[in-house]
């Protein structure tokens, strides 16, 4: 378990560990290095650099940049994924009073070229991966070099540290949710203060290790993770880019204690197979901008991370509010106005105002205005946009928020993401979240489209989760169940992917510019007959038709084709299934009575001359339907291999021995509570020919009938902690990790019989009916 009682030095004392820094990049680096040049600072790849080694690297880079004529106020583009060299060149430029212009390394030559032209860069620093695009984008004029060329030795004299606190150190082009990127200018002092603010925000300690998986061309990674690590004199664990499968191993490998995430990363990690999780990782603090309460709960419980801190900021005004580290916490809130570790320093101030700029009372929704010493200097070469961004010295965020009586702010919507429909203001973000929470949906983005009535209609673009069939009716029904009528989208477009900003937000402005989007859209109000429930069926059923069953939740059942399980390739249906209603035929099913199931048939260890070899087990559980009602008197049939992993079957060629005292089959009926129980021995794992060195984890086959043809289920029960589970293509065939995990039985000491047998509990859920009209009433 993680020790959550980490020693806590107050932020002000943490900063006081170091000599004064003079509010410059180099001053800050120099101050933190001075205290212990041998202490570890930057972990990247397999390399860990000490503060001293990092300072020397940055100084060497500054020397080569100076040799190339880079000096004060020169703009130098860096087009690279995260690396130690990227971090070092930022400080090198700071030493020279020059300006970093980070460019997304995945940009096309046209996208990058627009920024390089606008910033009139003196140099473009790239990597092997980005060099070709950089050369196309940069044209003839600037000097183009690879970052590693700057780490070579130079005989040129070291340039002086001339960067000043008010010198611009960064022009960061915002991905913009509006259109053409704007170049946000920040001073050197902004970086220093943002880092100090992050020390306060996350209670950073000198021995913290900040894991950075976000891109350095974004303010979060550069000002919070890097700035915070340097300000605290802590360490930075840098990933070249975020990798879902590599996240936990990386965190554990370097014993990282803190990480910044954004919503998309939180969602991805929460949905990934738990086998990728590394218990005993050292992370104790997560900064999320933002994290939903649901994701926060998963990080707290599943990932055992005690501190999940949510905050808010923009490229123009980094880190203006956050949940206080020591509470109180308001779930779903952006937090309170941010503070500096030195409480006497004026820091973030916030207001909520109406359209006319008048302050609104607590509880009212209005635009958030912010005033902070970390505010941008302006948009580069864009006085008009700069002027438009401020009102009387306050930065207008364009975000609609409300404040509660305790000073906590709650995000409502982007002003531009408000859809006007039937007189209602509808938040596009809310629709994204609700529709995105459908289990078959990977991502959703709602936008306004013009309607015949002059007002907006809602179009939602949806990306289905891979391998999950998603019908337009699934979205329509989900919206009907979760959204009030004005909020329900009229149009649906199923897309392979959505346009994103470099920070993984959906670029709605690009979506809106997508030509032909509306033409491809399905009008959910007039779904074609094939997809619309026939009258008397499903949603629109009449009182005389029997109540249908719920449709299975997408992602919680396997698909037919699952290539890792080789036998599916020639046996999985290749044509679309035909959607069919639930008629009397499907709603009825065979009944088996007690006379057909002998009481001794629930003991798989009985019925032979002697006892079978193997570890005796009691397996018990309850069978209920999706509404939680017990499924009574239903037949359960089980079969399994013997303790050696051999089936008593003519086709089983495994050379493990048969057990003359074990057949491996049993059956029983559930009782009035849906309960069942049988005795057996633990089955062995066994090899199969699916792939080289393939082994099935120990399992027991279950067959159940339930009350109808629709409830028939054949499944397999597994055992907890089986090391073969992560490797088994059959166990792993279901997209939803939670659905997989429900196939693993739970050891139960209450079921365990003293001196006799271990007990395992395995509960089973069969399909259930839709709520009947009677049940809808309160």
């Amino acid at each position: 378990m993680i020790d959550i009682t980490i020693p806590q030095i107050p932020p002000q004392q943490t900063l006081a560990l170091y000599p004064p820094h003079g509010e410059t990049l180099w001053g800050l680096l120099h101050s933190r290095t001075a205290v212990g040049p041998e202490r570890p600072f930057l972990m990247f790849g397999e390399t860990c650099r000490s503060w001293g080694a990092f300072r020397d690297l940055a100084l060497g880079m500054a020397t080569i940049l100076a040799e190339r004529g880079i000096g004060p106020a020169d703009r130098v583009a860096v087009m690279a994924a995260n690396s130690d060299l990227f971090v070092a060149v930022f400080f090198a430029l700071g030493r020279l009073g020059a300006i970093l212009v980070p460019v997304n390394p995945e940009f096309s030559a046209a996208e990058a070229g627009a920024i390089l032209d606008h910033a009139e860069v003196a140099a473009v620093l790239c990597t092997l991966e980005t060099e070709a695009v950089a050369r196309l984008a940069a044209g003839e004029h600037p000097w183009i070099a690879r970052l590693e060329e700057l780490s070579e030795p130079s005989s040129f004299p070291s340039p002086a540290a001339i960067g000043q606190p008010d010198d611009t150190c960064l022009i960061m082009y915002t991905s913009g949710t509006t259109g053409f990127p704007k170049g946000v200018m920040h001073r050197q002092a902004s970086f220093v203060m943002a880092g100090e603010g992050f020390v306060e925000r996350m209670r950073l300690q000198a021995d913290d290790r900040l894991l950075c998986v976000l891109p350095l061309f974004h303010i979060n990674a550069l000002f919070y993770s890097l700035g915070g690590a340097v300000a605290a004199g802590a360490s930075l664990v840098l990933a070249a880019r975020f990798s879902a499968s590599g996240f936990w191993p990386l965190a554990a490998r370097w014993r990282a204690t803190q990480v910044n995430i954004i919503a998309a990363i939180g969602t991805i990690l929460a949905r990934r197979p738990r086998r990728e999780f590394v218990p005993g990782h050292g992370l104790v603090k997560v900064y999320g901008a933002p994290v939903t309460p649901e994701i926060a709960a998963i990080f707290t419980t599943d990932f055992a991370i005690p501190h999940i801190i949510e905050g808010y900021g923009m490229t123009e005004i980094p880190g203006v509010c956050n949940q206080p580290f020591d509470g109180p916490h308001q779930p779903g809130s952006m937090g309170r106005a941010a503070r500096h570790p030195d409480p006497s320093r004026r820091f973030a101030e916030l207001r909520v105002v109406d359209e006319d700029g008048r302050d609104l009372p607590d509880g009212a929704t209005g635009e958030l205005l912010a005033r902070t010493p970390i505010v941008m200097q302006g948009y580069y070469r864009d006085p008009e946009q700069t002027a438009a961004a401020f009102r009387d010295g306050w930065f207008a965020t364009g975000d609609l928020v409300r404040r509660d009586g305790d000073g906590f702010y709650f995000f409502v919507a982007r002003k531009k993401d408000i859809i006007r429909r039937r007189g209602e203001n509808i938040s596009g973000a809310e629709l994204d979240r609700v529709i995105g929470s459908h289990p078959g949906v990977a991502e959703a983005a709602a936008i306004a489209v013009p309607s015949d009535l002059g007002e907006d209609e809602i179009l939602v673009a949806v990306v289905a989760r891979p391998g999950v069939p998603l019908h337009p009716r699934d979205i329509r029904d989900w919206c009907a169940a979760h959204l009030s009528p004005p909020k329900r989208p009229r149009f649906l477009v199923l897309v392979a992917e959505l346009p994103h900003t470099p920070t993984h937000r959906v670029a709605k402005f690009r979506l809106k510019q997508e030509p032909g989007l509306l033409g491809e859209a399905i009008d959910l109000d007039t779904l074609p007959a094939e997809d619309k429930p026939a009258p008397g069926l499903l949603g629109g059923r009449s009182m005389t038709d029997p109540t249908p069953y719920r449709r299975l939740v997408p992602g919680t059942q396997p698909d037919y084709l699952h290539r890792p399980y080789a036998s599916t390739v020639k046996r999985a249906p290749s044509r679309a299934l035909v959607l069919a209603p639930h008629t009397l035929s499907e709603l009825s099913g065979p009944v088996f009575g007690p006379d057909e199931v002998g009481s001794g048939e629930s003991d798989l260890t009985a019925g032979h001359a002697g006892a079978p070899l193997g570890e005796r087990l009691i397996i018990a559980g309850r069978v209920v339907d999706e509404t939680g009602r017990p499924v009574r008197n239903t037949l359960i049939e089980v079969w399994q291999a013997n303790a050696a992993g051999r089936y008593r079957h003519k086709n089983d060629g495994h050379d493990a021995p048969l057990d003359p005292n074990f057949t491996g089959c049993g059956r029983m009926l559930t009782d009035d509570e849906g309960g069942y129980r049988f005795q057996t021995i633990r089955p062995g794992a066994y090899p199969w020919r699916n792939h080289p060195n393939a082994w099935r984890p120990a399992h027991i086959h279950f067959s159940l009938f339930g009350p109808s043809f629709l409830t028939r289920l054949v499944t397999q029960m597994y055992f907890p902690g089986d090391p073969l589970l992560p490797l088994d293509p059959i166990f792993n065939c279901t997209a939803d990790p939670a659905a997989r995990d429900r196939l693993i039985s739970v050891f139960d000491i209450g079921l365990t019989q003293p001196d006799h047998a271990l007990g395992f509990r395995f509960d089973i859920v069969l399909r259930g009916r839709e709520a009947t009209p009677m049940e809808d009433r309160p």
């Binding site: 094939e530 026939a534 009258p535 008397g536 069926l537 059923r541 038709d545 299975l552 919680t556 059942q557 396997p558 037919y560 399980y565 036998s567 599916t568 390739v569 020639k570 046996r571 999985a572 249906p573 290749s574 299934l577 035909v578 959607l579 069919a580 209603p581 035929s585 009825s588 065979p590 009944v591 209920v624 339907d625 999706e626 049939e637 089980v638 079969w639 089936y647 079957h649 086709n651 089983d652 057949t663 491996g664 089959c665 059956r667 043809f709 629709l710 054949v714 499944t715 397999q716 059959i730 166990f731 065939c733 939670a738 429900r742 196939l743 089973i764 859920v765 069969l766 399909r767 259930g768």
Partner: protein, 181 residues
């Protein structure tokens, strides 16, 4: 309360151990009223290879179109494993017509549930009877594109009057229609 149904897993190649006690290729005994039919066919994979480890289960109404309940003499349920050549054969009575949605009547049909190694969850399909005028107004057949309907309708054997031939093709151009229920 809302729970999520347990995920299906393959029936595997060794289901006979646990399930063959209820094998029942004679769905209707001689005491059950109705027109006798025998249904035979083969089950083939995407390469046309016979599937020798399929589990076929049948559910059907009686000759009056009633689904059996507990205690009825006729259970309406059959369980037939495929043979080495992918073949299966069972005998029953032709069911009557059953109510369909919205006041319609369905044509006589069997419901089938098929599992096998390589199927992580069962497929469900229907078998209809040849030369049956009611097929034209069956509300479920109507949902199937016309060219594929014949995969659901058995053929009368030219040699044996009471024998119906109906094959199951798991994959490909002539794939049997399977239903999303």
């Amino acid at each position: 309360m809302s729970l999520v149904a347990t995920a299906s897993q393959t029936v595997g190649p060794y289901f006979h151990i646990g399930l063959s006690w209820a094998d029942n290729a004679a769905i209707a005994g001689p005491e059950v009223a109705g027109q006798r039919v025998t249904i035979a066919g083969r089950i083939l994979d995407g390469d046309g290879q016979p599937i020798n480890d399929a589990l076929i289960e049948v559910w059907q109404a009686d000759s009056q179109g009633h689904y059996p309940e507990a205690g009825d003499g006729f259970r309406g349920f059959g369980r037939i494993p495929s043979g080495d050549d992918g073949g299966f054969r069972f005998s029953t009575i032709k069911p009557g017509r059953v109510a369909g949605p919205g006041g319609t009547l369905q044509a006589p049909h069997l419901l089938l549930s098929i599992g096998m190694r390589g199927l992580l969850k069962r497929v469900t399909t229907r078998m209809y009877f040849p030369d049956e005028p009611a097929n034209a107004e069956d509300p479920i057949l109507a949902r199937v594109e016309p060219a594929r309907r014949r995969t659901l309708i058995a053929r009368a054997s030219p040699s044996e009057p009471a024998l119906l031939i109906w094959n199951v093709i798991m994959q490909g151009e002539t794939e049997t229609v399977f239903f999303d229920l």
